[in-house]
Symmetry: C2
Subunit: 478 residues, 2 copies
């Protein structure tokens, strides 16, 4: 049962991605156009990411809630920019229970409309604020050109929706959540990200300011990994959420929303993967250590398997997620490739001679180094080895990102860089959408982020030569 | 800010339910007909239930996956009974991305159709089996007459869908999952349940056998709390899931499916609640201990609040979920009622005199008893107190259930019992649907469960007098 090799990243990155997602058992296309089936190995990653986020949401005072999947189509249209952004993407339910509905319902593309309509009943006084709520759910935005995890009609995410009594408080929340996303990406997923603001044309429809964290994939394209929006009073005004402030004056509430989705799994694959397949950060790897017993006879199996299982139990006792791959129908070599493909950080091999010699062979997925260790030290070594692998993945991705982040001093350099090399190209920008559009037409790149605070670039706009007002980072993006 | 008292359970149980759900901040109706907003206090309960179930699913070898919300309408119709059962309840998406769809899509009312269509590609050999998958998601079954948690169009649940190489293995799985539901209900939610089989007319559409756990609410009506279905080869046949068995012969796979939904929260409310509101089992109570500081001046607050907070930290260190209610705008009496309404198992009161005397006052939500304890013992006492409350709730519910379970010896007794007293009425049944229908027409009660294994009742059918073939438990149900 030999497998064909994966396409090489350097030769055909998109095919590499498709094949890795498929062969590693992460996901596949669903039966209806635009839908996706998330398979166990992909979903287990999502669960680990959920836990990392949810723990931090709760530690910062947020509670989970659940708002309905369906709401009346007309609700969307109360916020002008919001409806313009989302109406073209919604799926519409026109029939239910065998009858045509009096009023069509939309499947949520995001939940600001239904949540702020409801907040109108929950908020009367400043004492009712803040509302710090989040929900884990599915949303749907119609897509015809789909890519597993990265772009599908239905996807899973969390969406936080908070209401505050003042603008500074809402802004503080917006940035607090951005920082949580950054922390989860960098410290848990080992993905370096650039936090920044979006340019006006890339803002969430209805937001005053959209903050983003942008990561760089191995093909030098950027991925928006999460966003946090300062919505000002736009939604409160549209959905009539007024409160009596401390001075007894009626005021519209201040809003934020923020989300991270299953898209991040696509990012994780493309930031860390190599030509052998996935490389999963130990902190979220569903299996951190796979133990492959090696034997050719029942006698050898009898000697090796109990040692493998005992070691797995010892690892479990140390809080390490391990699995013994005792499948009879596959040879060790097949298993090695399969677990490399699935990105398991550490492989332990145990054969009959190892059992006799009281040793195990330990292989790191990141460095590929093979070491022989006394069996008794295998477990104690694992914790530091997993920590090192986590760090190596981060360092690798950071070097790659830094090596592919350049300053653009003039338009020729910017254009040529974006077209030929890819990566982030940072340069002065005048703030005019026309310049963004020109870059986009010439190179398909967009402004991925601006500094968190506007930054005088001290130079002329690299596109048009007018005075620069901000420092923009351009890249082609997913 | 005095509150009106709750309606009394004995006078108007439905209003009591509606008011408790609303005032305890559990849920409210959504904007579109049939939808529900699950509020923080309700959702936190769901999270605790999810964790109890999910841990047990994983411990028994199941993995989580995610299948699409939408699938082509025609898929449903491949299994004849399945489509008959669900087609009248589906919501249909006819437009997406601004255009009319070529083929309408349905929102999943349950996922057998989409999952078994996909399993067709996953299963070729007995080596691919079993598939032990579960998903946490929302489903939608059109409803016009809604009741929060108990009956809404959209609800949240988990649905397990497993495929096996043999009938006994699938049956074993069906009963294993039923046992997990029983265990979670009884050991975690303190809800005694009757496990049993459904009569043919109450089976899941497409199932060979449906198993259920049935609980008794305080108004003597039954609630189906979870179901586990043995689907035989019906779905494999309909969706063409064949595998090469150990003998090299093509065979259809054997299926199970099983689910528990947010409906269980309605059950939890109606099994344990009393005229003061909810009574939450400590194992799932989002807040297990509320600490109410009592003070009339800033000086007193300065003395009391730090003690309250230190105690809360100590409790947290012991793994007890506690909260200090330090809201200034409410008096202690208001807080006491509110936390009783919300069902928090234990209240601790600390006033200035308590601080001086080095003591706290501890009140149990179940017994209502008030005890004064040395402050230093508060934390160590809590663990056993919470354990006792968990047990008291179970014992209360069990006594109530037992006191309201009767034998019916003839039809007059059955009819009168169901009409006048409610509760479970157990009697011999001939197995004929006509008798079920007669009881239902006369009393609105249905057969809630039959024994796990058919049981010769040794008596004539209480309805028609023909020979009994099974022992049926009737009740009016939600």
């Amino acid at each position: 049962m030999a497998r064909n090799a994966l396409p090489k990243q350097s030769e055909d990155f998109p095919s590499w991605y498709v094949e890795v997602v498929k062969r590693a058992g992460m996901a596949e296309h669903g039966l209806a156009k635009g839908t996706m089936v998330i398979k166990p190995h992909g979903y287990a990653l999502w669960e680990a990411i959920q836990k990392a986020l949810d723990d931090r949401f709760k530690a910062t005072g947020h509670e989970n809630v659940y708002f309905p999947l369906l709401f009346p189509e007309k609700l969307l249209s109360k916020e002008a920019e919001h409806v313009e952004g989302f109406a073209p993407q919604v799926a519409v339910v026109t029939h239910g229970g065998g009858e045509k509905l009096e009023e069509p319902l939309v499947i949520r593309p995001t939940s600001e409309a239904v949540i702020w309509s409801t907040y109108a009943n929950w908020v009367q006084s400043y004492r009712d604020l803040p509302l710090l709520y989040n929900q884990w759910c599915n949303v749907l935005r119609w897509e015809l050109r789909t890519r597993l995890f990265l772009r599908t009609s239905e996807f899973l995410w969390q969406e936080g929706h908070t209401a505050h009594a003042s603008s500074p408080e809402a802004m503080e929340e917006t940035l607090r959540m951005l920082e949580i996303y950054r922390e989860v990406c960098e410290d848990v997923l080992a993905m370096p990200v650039n936090p920044g603001r979006k340019s006006p044309s890339e803002r969430f429809p209805g937001a005053i300011e959209t903050y983003t964290i942008e990561a760089l994939m191995r093909d030098r394209r950027a991925l928006q990994s999460a966003t946090s929006h300062f919505l000002g009073q736009n939604f409160a005004r549209a959905y009539d959420v007024e409160f009596l402030n401390r001075d007894g004056v009626l005021e519209y509430a201040w809003a934020t929303s923020w989300g991270m989705s299953t898209r991040i799994i696509g990012g994780l694959i493309m930031v860390h993967g190599d030509d052998s397949g996935l490389r999963l950060p130990p902190k979220v790897a569903p299996v951190q250590v796979v133990i492959v017993p090696i034997y050719r006879s029942d006698d050898e199996a009898g000697a090796v398997l109990p040692v493998a299982r005992t070691l797995s139990d010892t690892l479990a006792g140390d809080g390490i997620r391990s699995r013994v791959d005792d499948r009879d129908q596959h040879r060790p070599g097949f298993k090695f490739s399969e677990w490399e493909l699935k990105g398991v950080p550490v492989r332990i091999e145990i054969g009959p001679r190892d059992v006799e010699a009281g040793q195990v062979v330990v292989v790191s997925r990141t460095s590929g180094t093979k070491r022989t260790l006394p069996a008794g030290e295998a477990s104690s070594t694992m914790t530091s080895m997993l920590r090192n692998i986590q760090q190596e993945l981060y360092d690798d991705a950071l070097s790659f990102r830094d090596a592919n982040t350049h300053d653009a001093h003039d338009y020729d350099e910017l254009r040529a860089g974006l077209q030929a090399e890819g990566g982030f190209w940072v340069g002065a920008w005048c703030g005019d959408t026309a310049c963004e559009q020109r870059v986009s037409q010439d190179t398909k790149a967009t402004v991925r982020f601006l500094p968190l605070e506007p930054e005088d670039p001290g130079a002329a706009c690299v596109v048009c030569g007018r005075p620069g007002v901000d420092k923009a980072a351009w890249a082609r993006a997913y």
